[in-house]
Symmetry: C2
Subunit: 207 residues, 2 copies
Protein backbone atom coordinates (compact mmCIF):
# COMPACT_ATOMS: atom_id res chain seq x y z
CA UNK A 1 0.00 0.00 0.00
CA UNK A 2 1.02 3.56 -0.51
CA UNK A 3 0.67 6.45 1.90
CA UNK A 4 0.31 10.12 1.26
CA UNK A 5 3.04 12.57 2.14
CA UNK A 6 0.70 14.07 4.69
CA UNK A 7 0.23 10.76 6.41
CA UNK A 8 3.94 10.01 6.42
CA UNK A 9 4.72 13.45 7.72
CA UNK A 10 2.26 12.99 10.58
CA UNK A 11 3.62 9.54 11.31
CA UNK A 12 7.18 10.86 11.55
CA UNK A 13 6.12 13.57 13.96
CA UNK A 14 4.15 11.08 15.98
CA UNK A 15 7.20 8.86 16.10
CA UNK A 16 9.22 11.72 17.53
CA UNK A 17 6.57 12.46 20.10
CA UNK A 18 6.32 8.82 21.10
CA UNK A 19 10.04 8.86 21.77
CA UNK A 20 9.49 11.73 24.17
CA UNK A 21 6.57 9.96 25.86
CA UNK A 22 8.56 6.78 26.19
CA UNK A 23 11.36 8.64 27.91
CA UNK A 24 8.86 10.19 30.27
CA UNK A 25 7.55 6.72 31.10
CA UNK A 26 4.05 7.38 29.76
CA UNK A 27 2.39 4.15 28.64
CA UNK A 28 -0.78 5.23 26.86
CA UNK A 29 -1.72 8.16 24.71
CA UNK A 30 -5.04 9.12 23.14
CA UNK A 31 -5.60 10.19 19.55
CA UNK A 32 -6.66 13.55 20.89
CA UNK A 33 -3.43 14.16 22.77
CA UNK A 34 -1.35 12.93 19.86
CA UNK A 35 -3.25 15.27 17.59
CA UNK A 36 -2.57 18.20 19.84
CA UNK A 37 1.10 17.33 20.14
CA UNK A 38 1.76 17.23 16.43
CA UNK A 39 -0.76 19.79 15.23
CA UNK A 40 -3.42 17.63 13.62
CA UNK A 41 -6.92 16.48 14.49
CA UNK A 42 -7.89 13.37 16.38
CA UNK A 43 -9.96 12.24 13.39
CA UNK A 44 -7.06 12.32 11.01
CA UNK A 45 -4.86 10.42 13.37
CA UNK A 46 -7.43 7.73 14.04
CA UNK A 47 -7.98 7.49 10.31
CA UNK A 48 -4.25 7.16 9.68
CA UNK A 49 -3.96 4.43 12.30
CA UNK A 50 -7.04 2.73 10.97
CA UNK A 51 -5.54 2.61 7.50
CA UNK A 52 -2.25 1.39 8.91
CA UNK A 53 -4.04 -1.13 11.09
CA UNK A 54 -2.55 0.18 14.31
CA UNK A 55 -5.00 -0.69 17.06
CA UNK A 56 -5.63 1.19 20.29
CA UNK A 57 -7.52 0.37 23.47
CA UNK A 58 -10.93 1.71 24.31
CA UNK A 59 -10.78 4.36 26.98
CA UNK A 60 -7.00 4.20 27.19
CA UNK A 61 -5.71 5.09 23.80
CA UNK A 62 -2.63 3.69 22.10
CA UNK A 63 0.18 1.84 23.86
CA UNK A 64 3.20 4.08 23.45
CA UNK A 65 5.95 1.46 23.24
CA UNK A 66 4.05 -0.88 21.00
CA UNK A 67 2.86 1.88 18.68
CA UNK A 68 6.37 3.26 18.41
CA UNK A 69 7.66 -0.17 17.49
CA UNK A 70 4.94 -0.75 14.94
CA UNK A 71 5.63 2.58 13.27
CA UNK A 72 9.35 1.93 13.44
CA UNK A 73 8.93 -1.46 11.84
CA UNK A 74 6.55 -0.34 9.15
CA UNK A 75 8.51 2.74 8.16
CA UNK A 76 11.90 1.36 9.08
CA UNK A 77 12.59 4.11 11.57
CA UNK A 78 13.95 1.64 14.10
CA UNK A 79 17.14 1.00 12.27
CA UNK A 80 20.02 3.45 12.25
CA UNK A 81 20.44 5.37 9.03
CA UNK A 82 23.84 6.39 7.81
CA UNK A 83 24.23 9.92 6.53
CA UNK A 84 26.86 12.35 5.34
CA UNK A 85 27.04 16.10 5.11
CA UNK A 86 28.37 17.91 2.07
CA UNK A 87 29.46 21.52 2.57
CA UNK A 88 31.13 22.22 5.90
CA UNK A 89 30.38 25.90 6.26
CA UNK A 90 28.39 27.40 9.09
CA UNK A 91 25.30 25.28 8.64
CA UNK A 92 27.15 22.11 7.70
CA UNK A 93 29.38 22.17 10.75
CA UNK A 94 26.42 22.91 13.03
CA UNK A 95 24.73 19.79 11.69
CA UNK A 96 27.94 17.78 11.86
CA UNK A 97 28.23 18.31 15.58
CA UNK A 98 24.56 17.86 16.39
CA UNK A 99 24.75 14.84 18.68
CA UNK A 100 21.01 14.44 18.90
CA UNK A 101 20.87 13.01 15.37
CA UNK A 102 22.60 10.00 16.79
CA UNK A 103 19.96 9.33 19.41
CA UNK A 104 17.25 10.00 16.85
CA UNK A 105 18.57 7.20 14.69
CA UNK A 106 20.75 9.05 12.22
CA UNK A 107 24.45 8.56 12.25
CA UNK A 108 26.57 11.19 10.59
CA UNK A 109 29.37 9.11 9.16
CA UNK A 110 31.33 11.74 7.29
CA UNK A 111 31.55 15.34 6.17
CA UNK A 112 32.82 16.59 2.81
CA UNK A 113 33.96 19.93 1.48
CA UNK A 114 35.66 21.24 -1.61
CA UNK A 115 38.05 23.39 0.38
CA UNK A 116 41.08 21.47 1.57
CA UNK A 117 41.85 24.33 3.88
CA UNK A 118 38.53 23.88 5.64
CA UNK A 119 38.97 20.13 5.86
CA UNK A 120 42.29 20.61 7.57
CA UNK A 121 41.19 23.20 10.07
CA UNK A 122 37.86 21.78 11.08
CA UNK A 123 37.42 20.66 14.69
CA UNK A 124 35.11 17.69 15.03
CA UNK A 125 34.94 14.05 15.97
CA UNK A 126 33.37 13.12 12.65
CA UNK A 127 35.68 12.19 9.77
CA UNK A 128 35.92 14.89 7.14
CA UNK A 129 37.18 14.50 3.60
CA UNK A 130 37.70 16.33 0.35
CA UNK A 131 34.67 16.06 -1.92
CA UNK A 132 36.73 14.03 -4.38
CA UNK A 133 36.72 11.18 -1.88
CA UNK A 134 32.93 11.12 -1.66
CA UNK A 135 32.10 8.33 -4.13
CA UNK A 136 34.64 6.04 -2.57
CA UNK A 137 33.60 6.75 1.02
CA UNK A 138 29.85 6.70 0.44
CA UNK A 139 30.22 3.29 -1.13
CA UNK A 140 32.63 1.78 1.35
CA UNK A 141 30.80 3.12 4.40
CA UNK A 142 27.35 2.34 3.04
CA UNK A 143 26.04 5.85 3.42
CA UNK A 144 22.35 6.09 2.54
CA UNK A 145 21.51 9.74 3.05
CA UNK A 146 23.17 12.91 1.85
CA UNK A 147 22.63 16.28 3.50
CA UNK A 148 23.49 19.18 1.23
CA UNK A 149 24.77 22.38 2.83
CA UNK A 150 26.73 23.92 -0.02
CA UNK A 151 25.82 27.22 -1.70
CA UNK A 152 22.86 27.00 -4.08
CA UNK A 153 25.11 27.15 -7.14
CA UNK A 154 26.85 23.93 -6.18
CA UNK A 155 23.78 22.03 -4.96
CA UNK A 156 22.87 20.26 -8.19
CA UNK A 157 26.42 19.18 -8.83
CA UNK A 158 26.69 17.79 -5.31
CA UNK A 159 23.33 16.04 -5.65
CA UNK A 160 24.55 14.36 -8.84
CA UNK A 161 27.72 13.20 -7.13
CA UNK A 162 25.77 11.85 -4.16
CA UNK A 163 23.32 9.97 -6.35
CA UNK A 164 26.03 8.54 -8.51
CA UNK A 165 27.80 7.39 -5.36
CA UNK A 166 24.68 5.55 -4.32
CA UNK A 167 22.77 7.50 -1.68
CA UNK A 168 19.06 6.81 -1.63
CA UNK A 169 17.81 10.02 -0.06
CA UNK A 170 18.81 13.67 -0.02
CA UNK A 171 17.99 16.53 2.31
CA UNK A 172 18.87 19.77 0.60
CA UNK A 173 19.27 22.90 2.73
CA UNK A 174 20.41 25.13 -0.10
CA UNK A 175 17.91 27.48 -1.68
CA UNK A 176 18.32 25.79 -5.06
CA UNK A 177 15.80 23.21 -6.10
CA UNK A 178 17.57 20.07 -7.18
CA UNK A 179 16.50 17.61 -9.83
CA UNK A 180 16.84 13.96 -8.96
CA UNK A 181 15.56 10.74 -10.52
CA UNK A 182 12.21 9.44 -9.29
CA UNK A 183 13.87 6.63 -7.38
CA UNK A 184 15.72 9.04 -5.07
CA UNK A 185 13.72 10.49 -2.22
CA UNK A 186 14.52 14.09 -1.64
CA UNK A 187 13.36 17.13 0.26
CA UNK A 188 14.28 20.76 -0.28
CA UNK A 189 14.31 22.71 2.99
CA UNK A 190 14.85 26.30 2.20
CA UNK A 191 14.80 28.52 5.29
CA UNK A 192 14.03 31.64 3.32
CA UNK A 193 10.88 30.09 1.90
CA UNK A 194 9.90 29.17 5.45
CA UNK A 195 10.35 32.75 6.60
CA UNK A 196 8.45 34.01 3.60
CA UNK A 197 5.66 31.59 4.33
CA UNK A 198 5.29 33.04 7.79
CA UNK A 199 5.39 36.60 6.49
CA UNK A 200 2.83 35.80 3.79
CA UNK A 201 0.59 33.84 6.13
CA UNK A 202 0.67 36.59 8.60
CA UNK A 203 -0.34 39.19 6.09
CA UNK A 204 -3.16 37.12 4.73
CA UNK A 205 -4.47 36.65 8.28
CA UNK A 206 -4.87 40.36 8.75
CA UNK A 207 -7.04 40.89 5.72
Amino acid sequence: MDFSNNTIDRICRIFGYLTVLEKKGIDFISSKELAEAIGATEYTIRKDFSTLNFKGYTRRGYAVKSLKNKIGDKFLLNQKRRACIVGLGRLGTALLDYEKFQEDGFEIIAGFDISINKIERIQTDIDVFAISRLPDIVKSKNIELGIITVPGEAAQKVADILIKAGVKGILNFSPAKINVPQSIVHLDKDFTSALRFIAARFMVERK
Copy 2:
Protein backbone atom coordinates in the same frame (compact mmCIF):
# COMPACT_ATOMS: atom_id res chain seq x y z
CA MET B 1 -10.12 36.01 0.45
CA ASP B 2 -8.18 33.27 2.11
CA PHE B 3 -5.57 31.02 0.62
CA SER B 4 -4.57 27.54 1.55
CA ASN B 5 -1.20 26.77 3.07
CA ASN B 6 -0.36 24.84 -0.05
CA THR B 7 -1.02 27.81 -2.25
CA ILE B 8 0.96 30.15 -0.03
CA ASP B 9 3.83 27.72 0.12
CA ARG B 10 3.92 27.50 -3.67
CA ILE B 11 3.69 31.26 -4.00
CA CYS B 12 6.65 31.75 -1.66
CA ARG B 13 8.75 29.32 -3.66
CA ILE B 14 7.69 30.95 -6.88
CA PHE B 15 8.67 34.31 -5.45
CA GLY B 16 12.14 32.97 -4.71
CA TYR B 17 12.45 31.55 -8.19
CA LEU B 18 11.29 34.81 -9.76
CA THR B 19 14.08 36.57 -7.90
CA VAL B 20 16.55 34.21 -9.54
CA LEU B 21 15.00 34.72 -12.97
CA GLU B 22 15.02 38.48 -12.55
CA LYS B 23 18.72 38.41 -11.72
CA LYS B 24 19.34 36.32 -14.80
CA GLY B 25 17.48 38.90 -16.88
CA ILE B 26 14.72 36.53 -17.98
CA ASP B 27 11.52 38.40 -18.76
CA PHE B 28 8.88 35.72 -19.23
CA ILE B 29 8.24 32.35 -17.69
CA SER B 30 5.60 29.75 -18.44
CA SER B 31 3.46 27.94 -15.88
CA LYS B 32 5.15 24.76 -16.96
CA GLU B 33 8.64 26.00 -16.24
CA LEU B 34 7.55 27.52 -12.95
CA ALA B 35 5.96 24.22 -12.02
CA GLU B 36 9.13 22.35 -12.77
CA ALA B 37 11.23 24.83 -10.81
CA ILE B 38 9.23 24.58 -7.63
CA GLY B 39 8.04 20.99 -7.86
CA ALA B 40 4.38 21.40 -8.72
CA THR B 41 2.23 20.96 -11.81
CA GLU B 42 1.41 23.59 -14.40
CA TYR B 43 -2.28 23.11 -13.66
CA THR B 44 -1.97 23.94 -10.02
CA ILE B 45 0.07 27.01 -10.75
CA ARG B 46 -2.33 28.31 -13.35
CA LYS B 47 -5.16 27.62 -10.94
CA ASP B 48 -3.37 29.50 -8.16
CA PHE B 49 -2.75 32.47 -10.43
CA SER B 50 -6.29 32.34 -11.70
CA THR B 51 -7.61 32.53 -8.13
CA LEU B 52 -5.20 35.34 -7.36
CA ASN B 53 -6.07 37.10 -10.59
CA PHE B 54 -2.50 37.18 -11.83
CA LYS B 55 -2.67 37.29 -15.60
CA GLY B 56 -0.19 35.91 -18.08
CA TYR B 57 0.27 36.29 -21.80
CA THR B 58 -0.74 33.73 -24.37
CA ARG B 59 2.24 31.96 -25.85
CA ARG B 60 4.66 33.85 -23.63
CA GLY B 61 3.75 33.05 -20.07
CA TYR B 62 4.00 35.40 -17.12
CA ALA B 63 6.05 38.59 -16.99
CA VAL B 64 8.70 37.93 -14.36
CA LYS B 65 9.11 41.44 -12.93
CA SER B 66 5.45 42.25 -12.86
CA LEU B 67 4.47 38.90 -11.39
CA LYS B 68 7.10 39.22 -8.70
CA ASN B 69 5.80 42.65 -7.81
CA LYS B 70 2.21 41.50 -7.72
CA ILE B 71 3.07 38.60 -5.44
CA GLY B 72 5.23 40.87 -3.31
CA ASP B 73 2.41 43.39 -2.98
CA LYS B 74 -0.28 40.88 -2.28
CA PHE B 75 1.69 38.89 0.24
CA LEU B 76 3.78 41.78 1.47
CA LEU B 77 7.03 40.11 0.55
CA ASN B 78 8.39 43.31 -0.91
CA GLN B 79 8.91 44.99 2.40
CA LYS B 80 11.79 44.14 4.69
CA ARG B 81 10.85 42.07 7.73
CA ARG B 82 12.66 42.48 10.99
CA ALA B 83 13.65 39.33 12.82
CA CYS B 84 15.62 38.17 15.82
CA ILE B 85 17.26 34.91 16.78
CA VAL B 86 16.94 33.39 20.21
CA GLY B 87 19.55 30.81 21.18
CA LEU B 88 23.04 31.52 19.88
CA GLY B 89 24.44 28.01 19.78
CA ARG B 90 25.70 26.30 16.65
CA LEU B 91 22.54 26.70 14.63
CA GLY B 92 21.67 30.14 15.96
CA THR B 93 25.07 31.64 15.13
CA ALA B 94 25.00 30.07 11.66
CA LEU B 95 21.70 31.81 11.03
CA LEU B 96 22.91 35.04 12.60
CA ASP B 97 25.72 35.36 10.11
CA TYR B 98 23.74 34.26 7.06
CA GLU B 99 23.98 37.39 4.95
CA LYS B 100 21.60 36.11 2.32
CA PHE B 101 18.62 36.68 4.60
CA GLN B 102 19.26 40.35 4.12
CA GLU B 103 18.99 40.21 0.34
CA ASP B 104 15.96 37.97 0.65
CA GLY B 105 14.14 40.63 2.61
CA PHE B 106 14.74 39.55 6.17
CA GLU B 107 16.85 41.64 8.45
CA ILE B 108 18.30 39.99 11.52
CA ILE B 109 18.20 42.80 14.01
CA ALA B 110 19.38 41.02 17.13
CA GLY B 111 20.40 37.78 18.75
CA PHE B 112 19.61 36.66 22.29
CA ASP B 113 20.96 34.00 24.59
CA ILE B 114 20.63 33.06 28.22
CA SER B 115 24.35 32.58 28.65
CA ILE B 116 26.15 35.83 29.38
CA ASN B 117 29.36 34.05 28.64
CA LYS B 118 28.23 33.30 25.12
CA ILE B 119 26.99 36.82 24.58
CA GLU B 120 30.35 38.18 25.51
CA ARG B 121 32.42 35.85 23.41
CA ILE B 122 30.36 35.80 20.26
CA GLN B 123 31.91 37.23 17.09
CA THR B 124 29.37 38.86 14.83
CA ASP B 125 28.24 42.16 13.38
CA ILE B 126 24.72 41.68 14.68
CA ASP B 127 23.90 43.03 18.15
CA VAL B 128 23.57 40.30 20.74
CA PHE B 129 21.91 40.57 24.13
CA ALA B 130 20.95 38.62 27.22
CA ILE B 131 17.50 37.11 26.92
CA SER B 132 16.30 39.38 29.72
CA ARG B 133 16.62 42.33 27.35
CA LEU B 134 14.38 40.72 24.73
CA PRO B 135 11.03 42.37 25.56
CA ASP B 136 12.59 45.78 25.63
CA ILE B 137 14.56 45.33 22.40
CA VAL B 138 11.82 43.59 20.41
CA LYS B 139 9.51 46.47 21.22
CA SER B 140 11.95 49.31 20.64
CA LYS B 141 13.34 47.86 17.43
CA ASN B 142 9.99 46.77 16.11
CA ILE B 143 10.96 43.17 15.59
CA GLU B 144 8.21 41.16 13.92
CA LEU B 145 9.65 37.67 13.65
CA GLY B 146 11.32 35.41 16.15
CA ILE B 147 13.55 32.51 15.19
CA ILE B 148 13.93 29.94 17.93
CA THR B 149 17.19 27.98 18.13
CA VAL B 150 17.27 27.01 21.77
CA PRO B 151 17.09 23.41 23.03
CA GLY B 152 13.62 21.87 22.88
CA GLU B 153 13.14 22.19 26.64
CA ALA B 154 13.38 25.97 26.46
CA ALA B 155 11.41 26.48 23.25
CA GLN B 156 7.98 27.06 24.78
CA LYS B 157 9.31 29.50 27.33
CA VAL B 158 11.11 31.44 24.62
CA ALA B 159 8.00 31.42 22.43
CA ASP B 160 5.99 32.88 25.29
CA ILE B 161 8.54 35.61 25.84
CA LEU B 162 8.63 36.44 22.14
CA ILE B 163 4.87 36.62 21.87
CA LYS B 164 4.51 38.71 24.97
CA ALA B 165 7.13 41.05 23.55
CA GLY B 166 5.01 41.46 20.44
CA VAL B 167 6.40 39.37 17.59
CA LYS B 168 3.82 38.32 15.05
CA GLY B 169 5.48 35.23 13.65
CA ILE B 170 7.74 32.46 14.90
CA LEU B 171 10.00 30.00 13.14
CA ASN B 172 10.90 27.24 15.56
CA PHE B 173 13.91 25.05 14.77
CA SER B 174 13.79 23.12 18.02
CA PRO B 175 12.29 19.65 17.99
CA ALA B 176 9.61 20.72 20.49
CA LYS B 177 6.21 21.68 19.22
CA ILE B 178 5.23 25.04 20.60
CA ASN B 179 1.76 26.27 21.46
CA VAL B 180 0.90 29.77 20.39
CA PRO B 181 -2.33 31.74 20.16
CA GLN B 182 -4.21 31.61 16.87
CA SER B 183 -3.19 35.14 16.00
CA ILE B 184 0.51 34.26 15.88
CA VAL B 185 1.73 32.60 12.73
CA HIS B 186 4.21 29.89 13.44
CA LEU B 187 6.06 27.06 11.82
CA ASP B 188 7.91 24.18 13.46
CA LYS B 189 10.89 23.05 11.38
CA ASP B 190 12.34 20.00 12.93
CA PHE B 191 15.27 18.59 10.98
CA THR B 192 14.93 15.16 12.51
CA SER B 193 11.36 14.86 11.28
CA ALA B 194 12.60 15.86 7.85
CA LEU B 195 15.24 13.13 7.89
CA ARG B 196 12.68 10.63 9.14
CA PHE B 197 10.32 11.64 6.39
CA ILE B 198 12.96 10.82 3.82
CA ALA B 199 13.77 7.52 5.46
CA ALA B 200 10.09 6.59 5.71
CA ARG B 201 9.31 7.72 2.18
CA PHE B 202 12.19 5.79 0.88
CA MET B 203 11.12 2.61 2.55
CA VAL B 204 7.56 2.92 1.39
CA GLU B 205 8.80 3.39 -2.17
CA ARG B 206 10.58 0.08 -2.13
CA LYS B 207 7.54 -1.92 -1.20
